[in-house]
Symmetry: C2
Subunit: 317 residues, 2 copies
């Protein structure tokens, strides 16, 4: 089968054997996949990953011991956990220390004709969701993780920093439970695209009033943390979504003085993500800026890497 | 009256007028006061403070419109809040943006013969607590703030980094609710002094096993954050007590990847602190390394500033 393979230095379209089915796993035909910022980072050496890239997809089950799955259209949780360690016993397989992660850690990804995942990771995509919506299940679930981690009453004022894909998705998801959400960005075109429902989308300068109850840092820049600390009220909550280093000496004293709670937030549960996509019709298709067949995958990566580009998909066009 | 006065450059023993009683406030004779690390920082320019230093004390009320207070032995909350802003309405006067803070911000402190505070800030010291125990009310309350902020079941494994006064007090306070607490430090003599009840006190190298549910960073060094992130389990809680900058670029990605919650933690409620001191007989007197009369206050500061010294008190000897 064809696959977008990263050998540690170069990304290439290669012909490789299709995955051999492991016990308890399912083989999937990839219907549509997305390129994520993490994929771009991986091609720059992040995690030292080698293999097939990709972790955002909608697929169809073509082989599985549990034959009930065969033929189903699915999204799949990307962490394959051991199921027996302490984290797994707490229901936090996403934090299993020996987990492999689709297209990120010790497991080939979905930027290929086929991929495989544990059957336990699969979620059927509801009929009402198109592939072009359901392909956002993974990043929407990551945005929904905030709702899982931070108790909200509905009366909070929230600010999301960063008008990239994840920032916009976080703002939309928060908008499904809060009436006062502001997205802060640097790109007028992205801010325009982000406006949905009651969401305010504003430039960083002058930015919103300080004193927000909840600030989500999704700029992908270390410097976003300073802005986030400045905007958060005493005893407020600051959600960290960016996994980049903050440049220069960093003074975390404001966190202590104002007793701010910082919540590191990563992947989320797919049930939650799929339900939000379906019930709230999040306008995720607005984020799509291009779709390429797998054969033109390298071109797709080049497009995705251009500054300011939102979502690039790989699948039949 | 005599007072230890910092003019922005030098600390000096000065003769100044006693405080004029404001409406709703109480005038106090200081019975015993403590020198805190923050006081040392203030003499190095922190907060740009000028005036009488000191915020840890036990005093006796000598004048108050509410005459019920007169003659009482008290400890006093150090934040004087406006009482009407949003933070105050939430019961968080400690975060009132226009607050003044005893000996730290726009208010003369307690390293003097007398000081004053709003009557609402006063807490009577229970009879069973000596001055030498009760003078620890402020730092013990700051340690107890962790219990106010982090829900604990009693089954958590906790690690406290830093064998300074605050680290030791945090470890003792956690030891009143958790059976598995480890204090990590660099000073054998302090670790020896810290051992109390079931508390393990160990050197930083090799330090405890990673995977702690709760890690308290109280090293007073920015680099402590790295060690704290390494020791905290996925979805665990990291309490920040140090208000110092982390040196060099700092990679907060582990917080995101492991979805760690960081809780900035500062002052605490005095009811809680006094109750812990009384009910658990925390062995705070072990931390006292010297006591000087106010007249020898400068000498007391020199002693407090020596590396490795724990608590220095100012009061009748």
């Amino acid at each position: 089968m064809k696959a977008l393979w990263f050998d540690g230095e170069r990304l290439a379209l290669r012909e490789i054997p299709p995955p051999e089915l492991r016990p308890g796993w399912a083989r999937l035909r990839v219907r549509l996949a997305g390129i994520c910022r993490t994929d771009l980072e991986l091609t720059r050496g992040y995690m030292g990953f080698r293999g097939v890239l990709g972790h955002e997809f909608v697929g169809e089950v073509i082989e599985c011991a549990d034959t009930g799955w065969v033929g189903k259209r699915v999204a799949g949780e990307i962490n394959a956990a051991c199921g027996t360690c302490e984290a797994c016993r707490r229901g936090l397989g996403r934090h299993c220390p020996t987990r492999s992660v689709l297209g990120i850690l010790n497991m080939d990804g979905c930027l290929a004709e086929e991929c495989q995942l544990p059957a336990a990771n699969l979620h059927e995509v509801p009929d009402g969701l198109s592939d072009r919506m359901a392909v956002f299940t993974e990043p929407v679930s990551a945005a929904c993780e905030i709702l899982d981690q931070v108790p909200l009453t509905g009366r909070e004022r929230a600010v999301v920093l960063g008008d990239g894909k994840l920032g916009i998705l976080c703002a939309w998801v928060l908008g499904t439970v809060l009436s006062d959400v502001t997205l802060v960005g640097r790109h007028p075109a992205k801010l325009e695209r982000a406006r949905w429902g009651g969401l305010r989308a504003v430039p960083a300068d002058p930015g919103p009033e300080p004193g927000a109850d909840l600030v989500v840092e999704a700029t992908g820049r270390g410097s976003g943390l300073h802005a986030a600390m400045r905007l958060c009220r005493p005893r407020g909550t600051l959600v960290l979504k960016s996994t980049v280093a903050a440049p220069g000496d960093i003074n975390l004293a404001p966190l202590v003085i104002h007793e701010i709670t910082v919540v590191g937030s990563r992947c989320g549960r797919f049930e939650t993500g799929l339900a939000r996509l379906r019930d709230h019709r999040l306008p995720v298709e607005r984020l799509i800026e291009g779709q390429y067949p797998l054969d033109r995958g390298l071109e797709a990566f080049e497009h995705a890497a251009r500054p300011g580009v939102l979502k690039i998909l790989i699948g039949p066009t």
